[in-house]
């Protein structure tokens, strides 16, 4: 093998790094040549993710807390908008509303909606979408999919290079995960009007550590802000 030629056996760290890169190349998880890097969300989240953001060519799972799941939709809308291209929205009843999505940067010209009432149809549509190189991200509303279907979607995403997001409501036992990451998004009471706050939990991340953040969506500059890092003059001013 060429690695013994390139590195001396004593240089363990270099050897390990090389092996890791080879394995990552085999798995393609989150990396696809010819495509720009991961989808950035917010500096502190991106640091926690091994790909430096939501990895493309991979599947991500989002658990929405609450019956309507507004914060999870906001989080996803941001990821879809920042993926940069055409976005497919697959749901039993797609209730996406462009006036709201536009404020997250997702224009109606980039949004395609698909109604799939049967799960088999929805999975098929998701797989076709992820395999298509003209799609930058696809969202599937699903009550939970089994490992085989998840693996198929993962392979499709790796082949096509799109960002795949599965959205489901949070449950006590979310079950095994095939996705690269799993998030749980819950609402938090806002401190200022029109500054929604979300509790974002990274439950699972392949090749990375989990974490928990409380984030604030600042619509005027289109940025997600980590409250732990941000100065909190707003809180004081509100108290005063």
């Amino acid at each position: 093998m060429n690695m013994t030629a390139r590195f001396s056996p004593l240089d363990r760290s270099a050897l390990l790094a090389d092996l890791r890169s080879q394995v990552a190349g085999l798995e393609h998880a989150g990396s696809r040549p010819g495509r720009e890097d991961a989808v950035p969300l917010c500096p502190s989240l991106d640091q926690a993710l091994p790909a430096g953001g939501l990895a493309r060519a991979a599947l991500h799972e989002v658990l929405a807390v609450g019956e309507l799941g507004g914060p999870a939709l906001g989080f996803i809308a941001l990821a879809l908008a920042r993926s940069g291209g055409t976005v497919l929205w697959i749901a039993p009843e797609p209730e996406a509303w462009p006036p709201g999505l536009l404020r997250f940067g997702l224009g109606p010209e980039r949004l395609l909606l698909v109604r799939a009432t049967r799960q088999a149809d929805a999975l098929w549509a998701m797989e076709e979408a992820l395999r298509c190189r003209a799609i930058s991200a696809a969202l599937l509303f699903s009550p939970g999919i089994n490992l085989t279907a998840g693996r198929r979607l993962m392979l499709a995403a790796e082949a096509g290079g799109a960002l795949g997001i599965l959205l489901r409501t949070d449950s006590a036992a979310p079950g095994p995960a095939v996705a690269l990451t799993r998030w749980r998004i819950a609402p938090l009471p806002a401190l200022e009007p029109d500054r929604p706050r979300w509790q974002v939990e990274l439950l699972r991340s392949r090749g990375g550590a989990g974490g928990q953040w409380s984030l604030c969506w600042r619509e005027d500059d289109g940025a997600l802000e980590d409250e732990a890092l941000a100065p909190a003059p707003s809180r004081r001013s509100r108290v005063g």
């Binding site: 010819g34 609450g66 019956e67 309507l68 799941g69 507004g70 914060p71 939709l73 906001g74 989080f75 809308a77 055409t86 009843e93 209730e95 996406a96 509303w97 462009p98 006036p99 709201g100 999505l101 536009l102 404020r103 997250f104 224009g107 109606p108 010209e109 949004l111 395609l112 909606l113 698909v114 109604r115 799939a116 149809d121 098929w124 549509a125 076709e128 979408a129 298509c132 190189r133 003209a134 799609i135 819950a186 609402p187 938090l188 009471p189 806002a190 009007p193 029109d194 929604p196 706050r197 979300w198 969506w217 619509e219």
Partner: protein, 521 residues
């Protein structure tokens, strides 16, 4: 006889006194066109299924039951068309009577029309019992007009249909001659043939026919010899128009059963195709051939039809509509796959036609370019994806619309439509998700027109931390029904931080109803 050179040249030949119009050459659109008319006299019998015993078909005309079609075996027993049913049964008790089934006849006629598409792409129905084939230019493929006619008649006989055929330069003339027994009118001899037609063959309205008979006119030539103006005054313009159409001086509409394909590939099978695998194999050879034709012409198909002819003369069609033109055999095959399941080969398909009914110019993609690098390749990939998804599921886009009413702010459009967002659209905070069916809620507020403090929703009370509003939406009177109430929308935040869009439908003093309409991030 000396020729007069000073007269202006005549556009038409001078009409001799004895035989006025026959030497007129046909003019107008019908010049040079040739039509094959088929008349199926026994269609009422044949459409109701095979008969073991001699059969007749009757129709109720008022209180009388009249015989409309008679099998040859029954005719040999003395039954004839036009007798009353009682007479016919008295003459030949062995003959089985059947009531007429107009629906079955029409269906069978249409099936035969589709069957006849194998001879020419332009076939029209001539109800109740005729077909018209525009055979202009196709007869050399079959070895001449007579050979073509014989082939059509043989095919019909194999399907169990007795038929009479005529070929002429006009549809009405051909159809009339077919009803009289059928012959081939040589090109240019239409006028002579018209003159010889008996009047009943022209399918005139009964009062007109009776009136002409009363004048002692028996043939179309007799009528043509009459002065036009009194004829029109007495029997109406339709008679004159009919004569003109017969002579080819006025255009006759020809309503083709199917639009003529722009490109087609046909495959006749030696053995009938019964299995799906066989159909797939045939398609995998036909599709590339069609795509080569399309490629040579620089076009892509928008509407593809697979027409499968079954051995019993019925035809099944699978239609495929594409959003953007394509000539990629693999893509077309994948799209057709879902449609093939609907085909019922039963005894097997003996012929498959693959037709590109609508095409559009499609520039060739330069081969050898890096995949994914060109926007054109990406657009093609997206179009193929939408086509595939659209075969199975509803796919659409939402286009902004100049309306402040929430349900109308975005409308469903075709996934291939281009969308532009007007300036200032969605300038105010709006929910990400608009419920298709707003949920009715109960609300407690301090004052009737104050923002909500608590809402009762899905079975429990929720405290409201903060509310902003109202934002009043007046109904669009130019579109709406007049009694639609005004809406006051509030953006509210529940105690746990869930942000909702609730609205009060109706003015606060008029016992309004409250709805949950949307969800914010």
């Amino acid at each position: 006889m000396r020729r007069r050179v000073c007269r202006p040249p005549r556009l038409t030949a001078p009409a001799p006194e004895a035989l006025p119009p026959p030497t007129l050459p046909p003019s107008g659109d019908t010049v040079g066109r040739r039509f094959l008319a088929l008349h199926l006299p026994l269609l009422p019998v044949e459409a109701t299924g095979r008969a073991e015993a001699p059969t007749l078909v009757w129709r109720a005309e008022g209180s009388a039951r009249r015989v409309v079609a008679v099998e040859p075996r029954a005719a040999a027993l003395g039954v004839a068309v036009g007798q009353s049913l009682a007479d016919a049964q008295a003459i030949a008790p062995a003959v089985r009577p059947r009531p007429e089934d107009g629906g079955a006849e029409a269906a069978r006629l249409e099936a035969l029309g589709l069957w006849a598409l194998r001879f020419t792409p332009l076939v029209a129905l001539d109800p109740p019992d005729g077909l018209l084939l525009d055979i202009t230019g196709v007869e050399p493929l079959f070895g001449g007009e007579v050979a073509l006619r014989d082939r059509v008649l043989r095919g019909l006989a194999r399907l169990g249909h007795a038929a009479q055929a005529a070929i002429a330069g006009g549809t009405l003339l051909a159809s009339a001659i077919a009803r009289c027994g059928g012959t081939v009118v040589p090109p240019g001899q239409d006028a002579v043939a018209v003159a010889g037609l008996p009047l009943p063959a022209m399918r005139l309205p009964v009062p007109v026919l009776v009136g002409l008979r009363r004048l002692g006119l028996e043939r179309a030539g007799d009528v043509l010899r009459q002065p036009r103006a009194p004829l029109a005054r007495r029997f109406g313009a339709p008679l004159v128009l009919l004569l003109d159409r017969m002579l080819g001086e006025a255009a006759t509409p020809f309503r083709s059963l199917r639009p003529p394909p722009e490109f087609q590939v046909v495959r006749e099978m030696m053995e009938p195709l019964i299995t799906r695998g066989g159909i797939d194999a045939a398609l995998s050879r036909m599709l590339p051939a069609l795509c080569v034709q399309l490629g040579d012409a620089g076009r892509g198909v928008l509407r593809l039809v697979l027409r499968a002819h079954r051995g019993d003369g019925t035809v099944q069609e699978a239609m495929l509509g594409l959003g953007l033109p394509s000539r990629d055999p693999a893509h077309l095959h994948r799209l057709l796959e879902s449609r093939l399941e609907a085909l019922e080969p039963r005894f097997g398909f003996e012929r498959l036609d693959l037709l590109a009914e609508r095409t559009e110019p499609l520039a060739a993609l330069q081969s050898g370019m890096v995949a994914g690098a060109t926007p054109a390749a990406d657009a093609a990939a997206l179009a193929q994806l939408i086509d595939r998804l659209g075969q199975r599921l509803p796919v659409w886009r939402l286009a902004p619309r100049a309306s402040h009413w929430p349900e109308r702010a975005a409308m469903k459009v075709d996934p291939f439509a281009s969308i532009d967002t007007p300036q200032g659209w969605a300038a105010r905070p709006r929910p990400l998700r608009l419920l298709r069916q707003p949920e009715q809620i109960e609300v407690i507020a301090v004052l009737p027109d104050a923002p909500p403090r608590r809402i009762h929703w899905r079975g429990n009370w929720v405290n409201i931390r903060a509310a902003e509003g109202p934002e009043r939406f007046e109904p669009e009177w130019w579109r709406d029904r007049p009694d639609r109430p005004v809406r006051d929308y509030y953006r509210v935040e529940c105690a746990d931080g869930t942000r909702l869009w609730v609205c009060r439908a109706g003015l606060p003093e008029a016992s309004p109803r409250w709805f949950l309409h949307g969800v914010f991030a």
